[in-house]
Symmetry: none
Subunit: 211 residues, 4 copies
Amino acid sequence: MAPTAHPGPAADRPADTAVARTGPGRPRSAEADRAIDRAALELLAEAGFEGVTIEEVAARAGVARSTVYRRYPCKTDLLVDAAARTSDDARSVPDTGTIEGDLLDVAHQLHRMLTDSLIGRTVPAAIAAAARHPELAEGHRAMVQRRRSGTRAVIDRAVARGELPDDIDTDLLLDLVSAPIFYRVLISGEPVTDRYLRRLVRTAVEGVRQH
Amino acid sequence: MAPTAHPGPAADRPADTAVARTGPGRPRSAEADRAIDRAALELLAEAGFEGVTIEEVAARAGVARSTVYRRYPCKTDLLVDAAARTSDDARSVPDTGTIEGDLLDVAHQLHRMLTDSLIGRTVPAAIAAAARHPELAEGHRAMVQRRRSGTRAVIDRAVARGELPDDIDTDLLLDLVSAPIFYRVLISGEPVTDRYLRRLVRTAVEGVRQH
Amino acid sequence: MAPTAHPGPAADRPADTAVARTGPGRPRSAEADRAIDRAALELLAEAGFEGVTIEEVAARAGVARSTVYRRYPCKTDLLVDAAARTSDDARSVPDTGTIEGDLLDVAHQLHRMLTDSLIGRTVPAAIAAAARHPELAEGHRAMVQRRRSGTRAVIDRAVARGELPDDIDTDLLLDLVSAPIFYRVLISGEPVTDRYLRRLVRTAVEGVRQH
Amino acid sequence: MAPTAHPGPAADRPADTAVARTGPGRPRSAEADRAIDRAALELLAEAGFEGVTIEEVAARAGVARSTVYRRYPCKTDLLVDAAARTSDDARSVPDTGTIEGDLLDVAHQLHRMLTDSLIGRTVPAAIAAAARHPELAEGHRAMVQRRRSGTRAVIDRAVARGELPDDIDTDLLLDLVSAPIFYRVLISGEPVTDRYLRRLVRTAVEGVRQH
DNA sequence: CTGTAACCGAGACGGTACGTCGGGTCTTCTG
DNA sequence: CAGAAGACCCGACGTACCGTCTCGGTTACAG
């Protein structure tokens, strides 16, 4: 791709328009929408940003190339939007009764998301692309923040229970629990075992408990 | 780029051949070697993997396109080798007297490496590439391990001094100090302040001190 | 050019399709067709087969390189087709009343064609190429035969008039009048004067008149 | 090949230097000389001017590329000189007693030369090259003229014998006998039979006999 | 019902980079 | 010095996608 400066924010017709106001003319195929998003993310996970080809996306989605271009002005926008739209839905805020139990569950969920889910496998590509396409970074950061907010609730509950002191540095605790999982999966390549996660959570909690 | 499966490990003539046995024929220009490596990394840092163009690499290196292709069969190999060859030399093992002081120095060095150095700015590209080209991952992991081994010495010294218990989980401590820095720089995008690093180091150390 | 065996006869879309059945998709630009053919022949005449460059053809035709490649898989096919399509229209069957007058006119036309016309100046290149690309030879031979058929009519008329005996070897007469002109222009390089043509025609006619 | 203006006449060491003055140092291999010439002409006959590759010439001759370039500054000169040096030796001036018998023999020789001999099969390439490299043309024209001078002797002898009138246009007769053979072989592709050659010679001779 | 506007498919268009190949020059080592 | 080997710069090759455009054919709402 030519290193063209990215033109603008996003697609012609925002997906979040609630009612999908139908003007005259044939409406866009919702099936094509879905197929394109899915194909784009699959390719992103498989082949990385540079490996994604509009031609291949269209082929996998079973649509014409122009059907893709009608929705997104360029490859970057396609991927940004597909990633943004495809939330990582399968997550839950645990409630085991103890902060360590809750955080361990969160850690397991994060690890599974990174290694198993479609969106998780696009993370490496997203990190690389983020350097040059900040708008793409936004999508993934938003996802990260949604996840964190769930975990933040877990921590707040523990504080309310008196399990953790109330002057705790929540962000630091969040980092301490999440970062090593990203680190092992993406950078050091070392295995992430259940035993490792238990130690990680315990150590992080005990660390922040000292003021 | 055609989504060609990566063919093999690396370049035609390994750089690590000590004596550089000169066969018949004109020897390769060592100057070109250097210029190409440098140009490739600069571009990788500036424009990302997809933004690197053999044409542009050659132009910056002041060399013909074929001179690049003679050394590397494809773009991927060029970048793999250039990154592998360009070690991240500017690092030192601190000795401030306390484990927290030492680790804080290590943390600062890591942060600077990631944000300022040429090799550091190639890390996002390397992560993405690693997903598809495991041999590329090796290079960066080796670098990471070299860094860790320095830090490991710092920790061992603290154990010897009695500053830390001797049944400590060294790897976990290493992860706790390094991972959040990678995480903030590459993923969450949140700032890495001196204050943050101080808290991080103190919390990690106190965490692992509890058995 | 790599000494690749020539793959097949010709272009993807035959020019002789009468109705030009338009399939789906944007139709090819007829203007580009013409511009490419013309540019190719001009270059062939100027620089010879080896001197023709797709890049230059495209540039002269005011067209992208890929637009040329879409029509012709390789340089050879481009030239074959361009030559085949571009007939040598500007010729006429003379009727001066005498066989010698007619043949002299034919000879003049042939000489002018060879030295002045676009298609004529491609003949040397065609001869060379014909040795290795028989299909290219066909195009030029067809042109030669069209020309000969006109001259054949002239001779038949002379036979009908009783100016020539009816058991004449028409092909031989045709060769005797045409061949020396090709020979002088292409091989010996000697000049082709009006005086030479007069003698040539007279001698040929008198030669065949003896049975 | 870039359409570079041809630099100069020919090779560094002219082949016609009788004694091959040996300066100091290792003398050039005469075997290499021969092997290169032969390889060049073979390739020229097989693949045409554009198909000749210095690389392939060197490979066939069993020498290094630089050994070829030491002798000839460029591909054109290589071929010019090789063709010039490789005379078409196998020819003889016949003496059958009659002009028609002699000319028939000459015609047969010419036809065999064109279709069978190494040098003959380079004629198409030479014609094409002549259009742009006049110096190459010279070589072939010289060959043509040598052949013609032999035939001219045949005609002069016939005049002396009184078999032909003494105001004959010798050049025209030469053209009438030679040109159609070139024409059929190179241009029309029609067969050249013994019967055809007999008629050709008889008709040409009778034609020029009328004043 | 019938326009008509927007869709969909197909594919040509001008570009740009790819990785390969050959040309002609040069630099080194070996005989 | 000649020869073999091979690196060097240059430029054309044919391929693959990019993002844009123009076609014919197909819906679904609106008058």
